[in-house]
């Protein structure tokens, strides 16, 4: 059964009683977009069922409906063969459904124990919180599922992997038989992912049903029994893991064969534009994020930084852009030191930055497209007389030019950026950062959450910048993107560049390097981590 069954799948294939979850013809529309369009979703008892799709395909919406966080517009939900009336999380919990959210639902200032029992706290007489019983019950759960945790630790002090473990224990404590895991590996290190999969298999052996949401196909193939694929709010395929391939899932997810090849001429690198020497920096939570990073980017070259998210890429870009301080090391732009200058100074020296958080950091969403197109350059001689009085006509003319040149689909230059699609919002940033004619372009996840058309456009533009002589530093979580755009690839792992590779390096080798393998000294770096 390698071909996808047509949607909607016939429910006759499985006997209804053996289904843990049976969602029928679920509809949910937001203003302007149908997130779930008559979705049918079946999960058998005791299986690990993967729900896959691109960002925005409607996976999380569907699961939030199942968990009662979002009201559906239409459709029925059956849990264990019975029609379920889910009005809120409380109803879902009562039905034995638990959800581990992508963004953890944990309270940093409370203890692990308090977090786990929240909502079902054991009490003694007079509503007094019974800490002793909490310890005892969590201890039991921990032992049964091999999930060691200290209930008295403060949640905020735990590493991400343990926080997720607490989330799982929290769900189990509520007596969940059906666990929804929303993109659980996005924040994990490879080791933590391995551990998580071990735990999930243990839970399955213990009779639990698991819904595993992901867009990482390798993981899906590794962990799941069956797969449901969503695209643009619809279910486009039901697959059996054992008999499918990565290519098949990818084709269903994207709707055509993905071949993110970018036509580009060989690079013609010039002198070194950006040099980084022994850079170290701390993360927001004040743990070392960069542990001595060194590399060079030449003019007319794209250096791609490959790595699992959370290995220091974000911090590296922030240090280079001037929004995070380096604790040691140097950054040189054209041979001149720019380490720890302000964001404004770095910008004015010719470093452009496409930030990874488009809506939060790249745009003022309530500003017009035109205003966003001058963000960061509002005091430049081009747009402001004496750096103070804005020249509105110049700004408007500039905006019109960039809107045409970068094909930004906006009704008018005065339209608010908020009203545009993700792809067009990203084009505003790309246009602004490229049009300032930088020496160095920092591009962080430049196509995340953007539609295919915009992806191709942005890719072409990045290559054009390179051909124009700009030094491009590209960070992306998408290995395909890194491989198709980069002239050289630097692999980042746990705050270090572990290897420089050629663009043609096979994906397998990069994958190995990204997860700390593939090098003679890999073992050493694991210990250091």
């Amino acid at each position: 059964m390698t071909t996808p069954t047509p949607s909607p799948a016939s429910p006759a294939s499985a006997d209804t009683a053996s289904l843990a979850v049976d969602m029928r013809s679920i509809v949910k529309a937001w203003p302007g977009v149908v997130a779930n369009d008559h979705v049918n979703f079946e999960v058998r008892r005791g299986e690990i069922h993967a729900l896959v799709g691109e960002n925005g395909a409607g996976k999380t919406t569907l699961m939030n409906i199942l968990y009662g966080l979002i009201r559906r517009d239409a459709g029925d939900i059956f849990v264990n063969g019975k029609l379920a009336h889910i009005q809120g999380p409380r109803d879902a919990i009562a039905l034995g459904i638990g959800m581990v959210h992508q963004h953890f639902m944990l309270i940093p200032v409370l203890t692990v124990g308090e977090n786990i029992v929240l909502g079902r706290e054991p009490t003694t007489a007079g509503d007094i919180y019974d800490a002793a019983r909490v310890r005892q019950e969590i201890g039991e759960l921990s032992r049964r599922y091999g999930l060691t945790l200290n209930p008295d630790d403060k949640m905020g002090d735990l590493p991400v992997g343990l926080q997720q473990r607490a989330e799982i224990v929290k769900v189990l404590y509520r007596g969940a038989e059906i666990l929804i895991m929303d993109e659980p590996t996005g924040v994990l290190t490879p080791q933590e992912t391995t551990e998580l999969f071990h735990v999930l298999r243990g839970l399955r052996a213990g009779g639990k049903t698991i819904i595993f949401i992901s867009h990482k196909l390798k993981e899906v193939l590794d962990i799941s029994d069956r797969i449901t694929v969503m695209r643009r709010g619809k279910v486009v395929g039901h697959l059996i893991t054992a008999t499918t391939t990565e290519q098949e899932i990818a084709r269903l997810m994207v709707g055509r064969d993905v071949l993110l090849r970018v036509d580009k001429a060989p690079a013609n690198p010039g002198p070194v534009a950006l040099a980084v020497e022994g850079l170290t920096a701390a993360s927001d939570s004040n743990v070392p994020a960069l542990r001595g990073v060194s590399f060079e980017v030449r003019q007319g070259e794209i250096l791609g930084i490959a790595g699992v998210e959370g290995n220091g890429q974000s911090e590296l870009i922030e240090v280079l852009a001037g929004t995070r301080k380096a604790s040691s090391g140097r950054v040189l732009l054209g041979g001149k030191e720019i380490t720890n200058l302000s964001a404004r100074a770095i910008r004015s020296r010719g470093i452009s930055h496409i930030p990874e958080d488009r809506r939060g950091a790249g745009l003022v969403l309530n500003y017009s497209v035109a205003d966003n197109l001058v963000l960061g350059r509002q005091r430049s001689a081009r747009f402001a007389w004496n750096g103070f009085v804005l020249m509105l006509n110049a700004i408007l003319a500039w905006a019109k030019r960039l809107i045409a040149e970068f094909d930004i689909r906006t009704p008018t230059p005065e339209t608010r950026a908020r009203a545009l699609s993700g792809g067009n919002q990203q084009k505003i940033i790309v246009a602004r950062e490229m049009a300032s004619e930088p020496l160095v372009l920092l591009a962080s996840q430049p196509t995340r959450g953007v539609d295919i058309g915009a992806i191709e456009f942005i890719h072409r533009r990045i290559v054009a910048q390179r051909d124009h002589g700009v030094a491009v530093l590209l960070v992306s979580a998408e290995l395909d993107e890194i491989r198709s755009l980069s002239d050289r690839i630097a692999v980042m792992y746990e705050g270090r560049i572990v290897s420089f590779e050629a663009a043609e390096t096979p994906e397998e080798r990069l994958g190995l390097l990204m997860t700390g393998g593939g090098r003679a000294d890999a073992a050493a770096s694991k210990v250091a981590g």
């Binding site: 929004t323 003022v364 699609s421």
Partner: protein, 410 residues
């Protein structure tokens, strides 16, 4: 999400060729929420009056009479009422701008009253101590002194916020009390007390006084001696202030940056804008407007520093003025006229309808509730988010409100 750009383009095909009607609607739309809020306030206010056995119709008629000289029952003089309204409106425009500029940066300046008092103190000191200077120099000095003192006082809250993170709401409340007690201290047994007065300073020199709109004598004007028309040229200072505000917010890189910080500190920081510096500069400007208000009232109306402890509410009314005016220059002026008229009308209401002028504060609070809660929901209107979560971008106004046009070029 996939590509919702198609419908967007479609919807705006007509917007590219605006009809005269659609233009008028576009101009009137931002007034929907404020006008609705005022209506809401008057309806609920009427219920309060009736519930306490008052005559709501009579109350509102006398309010209108006192504010605009219309619907008068007892032969009040229209010109006099308008003059009184102008007296209240003059400083309200400036304090309204003070609060508005802070709102633009996502800051809540509850301290306009304190900054106003500090401005008045500085203006009084200059106007009294340097009274021998020629008017041509003295009068500007008085106004500038008030502006600078207010700026310094507002800037203090800005520095506390930028450097130590102390929330401006709490610090400005505390600074209000400090200023009010300081002014009391100065004029009751302190260095500025006038000989023989209980709680007032001596008047400032004649050259330090803003002239009245009509000369102070007993010639008849609209059937009344000219001396009763207390409206003064401070209104021009206020309108000039509104023009400055308009210019800063709409035409300068500074205004662009202030609004950017208010909308999204993160985006501002990434764009190389110093958030701390912008906060301090905003509070300096905010305090400057409020301080100028204090100087204007002192120079044009009271002439000496008097005890205003909670009798004067100009700095607090400013919050309602700026919110009702949706933080735009024109809106603030219009809202200041409305509240000026309400305060002036309150006095007539007290005389004609025997209803305390404090009803005006009830109406003001109802306007605030209605604006903040957006009971009408016709238009989306949001205040800056004062939370600390950087993931929730602040929204000064939502798309529908064209107020944002003030930030848009062209």
């Amino acid at each position: 999400m996939a590509t919702p750009s198609a419908p967007t383009t479609e919807r705006t095909a007509s917007a590219d060729t605006p009809t005269p009607l659609s233009r008028v609607i576009a101009y009137l739309r931002p007034m929907g929420t404020p006008l609705g809020s005022v209506l809401f306030a008057f309806v609920v206010g009427a219920i309060v009056v009736v519930a306490t056995r008052g005559n709501a119709l009579l109350a509102y008629e006398s309010l209108a009479c006192g504010g605009f000289g219309i619907f008068c029952q007892n032969g009040e003089n229209t010109a006099l009422q308008l003059s009184n309204t102008l007296v209240f409106t003059t400083p309200l425009i400036l304090t309204g701008l003070a609060v508005a500029v802070a709102f633009r940066a996502g800051l809540f300046n509850i301290g306009a009253e304190g900054q106003l008092v500090m401005g008045a103190i500085a203006a009084a000191v200059v106007g009294i101590k340097l009274g021998t200077w020629p008017a041509l120099i003295l009068l500007p000095s008085v106004l500038i002194a008030g502006t600078l003192a207010g700026a310094a006082y507002g800037g203090l809250a800005g520095v506390l916020k930028a450097v130590t993170g102390a929330h401006e709401v709490v610090t400005t409340i505390m600074l209000n009390y400090v200023a009010l007690w300081a002014s009391r201290y100065l004029i009751i047994g302190g260095p500025l007390q006038a000989p023989g007065a209980f709680n007032a300073s001596p008047p400032v020199a004649a050259g330090a006084q803003l002239p009245r709109l009509v000369p102070l004598n007993n010639n008849l004007l609209f059937g009344l001696p000219q001396s009763v028309f207390t409206a003064y040229t401070g209104i021009f200072v206020s309108l000039f202030g509104a023009a400055i505000y308009f210019f800063i917010m709409r035409r300068t890189a500074l205004g662009y940056e202030i609004t950017a910080v208010g909308q999204s500190q993160r985006a501002a920081r990434y764009a190389g804008i110093s958030v701390r510096r912008t906060i301090v500069v905003t509070m300096l400007i905010s305090g400057a407007f409020a301080g100028l208000a204090g100087a204007v009232v002192l120079s044009g109306l009271s002439h000496s520093l008097v005890d205003t402890y909670f009798q004067d509410t100009t700095g607090f009314d400013a919050i309602a003025v700026s919110l009702l005016g949706q933080n735009t220059a024109i809106g603030v002026v219009l809202a200041a006229i409305l509240f000026g008229a309400l305060h002036a009308g309150g006095q007539v209401m007290e005389a004609d309808a025997q209803i305390s002028h404090n009803l005006v504060f009830v109406l003001e609070a109802l306007v605030l509730f209605s604006l903040a809660a957006n009971f009408l929901r016709t238009f989306k209107f949001r205040l800056p988010a004062f939370g600390r979560s950087p993931t929730q971008p602040a929204e000064l106004e939502a798309q529908d409100v064209v107020v944002g046009a003030a930030d848009e070029p062209g």
